[in-house]
Amino acid sequence: MASLKPTEEQLAYANLLDIGMKAGLAGLLIAFIIYIFQILPPYVPINELPALWKLNLHEYLGTTKIKQGWFWITMLRYGDFLTFLPICFLAFVTIFCFLRIIPIFLKKGDKLYAFLSLLQALILLLAASGLLKVGH
């Protein structure tokens, strides 16, 4: 039977994921408190949400004048957009994890796994780039 002892890259991935998850969760809670108590004003008023979440994406963006892509990064002075930051961070954690294990694979001579990890990170970065669209 193969050894169940985790490998160096598995531990490195898991440890970084654990740290990133906890940091992201803490950031998310802080941002949500700022949003919910309106320490920073929301861009979309909270009392208008029930009317807005019935709209499809195109109608929602048209009504709220929100632009697609990384536009939200310029709107962090608003409480609702501030919550995008820890969500984005959490999404980046997986990319950081893949990048973290590439040197370990290379050190071991596992070039194929290193290439696949790099490829996975690049695909996720492509999703992050905003070149891929969703909705109408």
Partner: protein, 115 residues
């Protein structure tokens, strides 16, 4: 098989975990606890790309999304602890119950009865 799961997950917004586990366990013969852990790991990657796409769409409501993420993350921490000590038979019953619920939910959603 996993591509079909992805299409269905995208269509119904259920996440792919409900289908990953039985495919890994029942069709590929992966031990149940390994199947559950593998499914969760897969989701952490596939959901990352989905998260970026939705972030870039600009239409995220923190009121719904943040409370969901926090709840699921905290629940996952509890779930991991239970998975480590639970008997595979119990996990199998829970997975089957969840599958039944998910299937019923998807069917009723598709028929417009439970939106």
């Amino acid at each position: 098989m996993f591509a079909i799961i992805g299409v269905m997950a995208g269509m119904f917004g259920l996440g792919a975990g409900w289908a990953n586990v039985p495919v890994l366990n029942l069709l590929l013969g992966v031990p149940l606890k390994v199947a559950v852990s593998t499914s969760k790991f897969l989701l952490s990657i596939t959901d990352t790309s989905a998260a970026f796409i939705y972030l870039n769409s600009g239409a995220i409501s923190p009121m719904i999304v943040v409370s969901s993420i926090v709840g699921i993350m905290l629940g996952s921490i509890v779930g991991e602890g239970i998975l480590a000590v639970a008997k595979p038979k119990v996990i199998r019953i829970v997975v089957l119950a969840l599958l039944l619920f998910s299937g019923l939910r998807a069917l009723l959603k598709g028929l417009g009865i439970w939106n």
